[in-house]
Symmetry: C2
Subunit: 293 residues, 2 copies
């Protein structure tokens, strides 16, 4: 499988370290990005830079994509000179983007029926650090045999690739992940403000709860920033959590499922975003519940 | 400090293993319980069993309490033949119970002013297993010098005693802990039901999210039970989470703080409890969002 030729589309914050790790693992990697300048770091490490998506598709066995949202995936697939125009029967597309499960299922059906292209949705969790260190969690949706076949390609990126079900299941699982994270960060903001109002030294809460039932990575990373009102370092964005909670609401609505906690979470996240915090770190959520600066 | 004589009131699920560990650490321990039968296991390990609270108070330097709620603490303190009738100036009370912070502050003031008794609120997290293994987290509220003075007494119970602020701060911190845990378990229930409705193999979610931003001890312990609808083993109770969320609401109301997520959490927990699940494991919360059995 190490002779498999990989194409990687999307040289963003995640795509650069992910394709770098694939290169370093010995795979032949061809990259493409709308703004070609961003391919330069990969070229320096030995990647082939394709001049077009068509050129990329012609030279690879597996096409990987990692872009920012559903619209961007759709454009790369079905836009002018997109993947769909160039894909060959038997090629496999692995989409690492975090996008809507229903759109994923529709695009995957169309790719298979019209172009013979197989689809695996494989959204990741773990951020830029996880991408650089190859410690991402990958939630995969797609045909079982196909997922097993591409597993060796994913090993440089993750020791934890979990197959969640048919196409779209990876995206639905990522939404579940984001529901848990977003609601937890909102409750943390409530907790920090309430603790301060109650005379508690809130800066000690992450330490006091460490290792217990209430603990989480966000409590240890974002909790201290909330307590200290330290918002300078932006590690992730309010707008990402809002986007994911809105996808959760759309999925729940489509399924006839009720998600009251995550539904309220979306509205609180929107309220916070509407006050100018969309591009800020979620640590700023404490300001929704406290006037202290 | 190992010559300190300890009195322990409340031989419940937590009190028995906690007082046992103090005995095994070499402290002289006198125990009392309303139903004296429950003192038997401690007597067999060498504890003195007091015939009354007065007898206990007369023979110890530090009085520890671990009972079920605010009313029970009040009764032990100020009820007929309670601690207040027998306490001596300079004795210290350490209350491990999880009770209301405002009631704690009122009772502590009254104890100090009328009886010279010092108070430390020291609610614990970690459950029966933590009590047995001495790995509880203790969230302490009280005078700084006093908390440092009793720290050696707490070592057999916990390597993590965090001083959170003045009297009542330990209880407020425990409420914060429970807000995070309860809301997280509710969102887990939403996630499990939504995942199933979306064609995801929900039983793989705890494994898929393990070690990531969405992970927590409840996701690993309670998540699999939700996915499998396995409710036979009752490790904790819906009624406890409801009690704690109601205490969170009372504290927030008293402070003028808003806690919308935990407020909705309380109502959802009450709704679930009203359907007959108060004495059941919180894993049953998945039934609030899914008819599957």
């Amino acid at each position: 499988m190490s002779s498999t030729r990989i194409g990687f589309i999307g040289m963003g914050l995640m795509g650069v370290p992910m394709s770098t790790r694939l290169l370093e693992a010995g795979f032949a990697v061809t990259v493409w990005n709308r703004n070609a300048d961003k391919c330069q770091p990969l070229a320096e490490r030995g990647a082939r830079v394709a001049g077009s998506i068509a050129e990329l598709c012609a030279n690879v066995d597996v096409i990987m994509t990692c872009v920012s949202n559903t619209e961007a995936v759709s454009e790369i697939l079905f836009g002018e000179q997109g993947i769909a125009d160039s894909a060959r029967e038997g090629q496999v597309l692995i989409d690492f983007s975090s996008i809507a499960p229903d759109a994923t299922r529709e695009m995957a059906s169309r790719c298979k029926e019209e172009h013979g292209l197989d689809w695996i949705d494989a959204p990741v969790s773990g951020g830029v650090a996880g991408a650089e260190q190859g410690t991402l969690a990958i939630m995969a949706g797609g045909d079982t045999e196909l997922v097993e076949r591409v597993r060796p390609l994913l090993e440089p990126l993750s020791q934890r690739v979990t197959h969640m079900g048919p196409v779209g299941s990876g995206q639905a699982t990522k939404i579940c992940n984001q529901m848990l994270v977003s609601c937890n960060v909102l409750v943390m903001a409530e907790v920090m403000a309430l603790a301060e109002q109650s005379g508690v030294d809130a800066s000690r809460i992450p330490e006091a709860l460490k290792g217990g039932f209430a603990d989480s990575i966000p409590l240890q990373l974002t909790g201290p920033k909330m307590a200290a009102r330290d918002f300078d370092e932006i590690k992730w964005h309010v707008k990402t959590l809002l986007k994911d909670l809105d996808m959760a609401n759309a999925l729940a609505k489509a399924n006839g499922s009720a998600i009251p906690m995550a539904g309220l979470g979306a509205e609180l996240m929107r309220l916070h975003g509407s006050k100018g915090y969309l591009e800020q770190d979620p640590a700023t959520l404490v300001k929704l519940f406290s006037d202290r600066s």
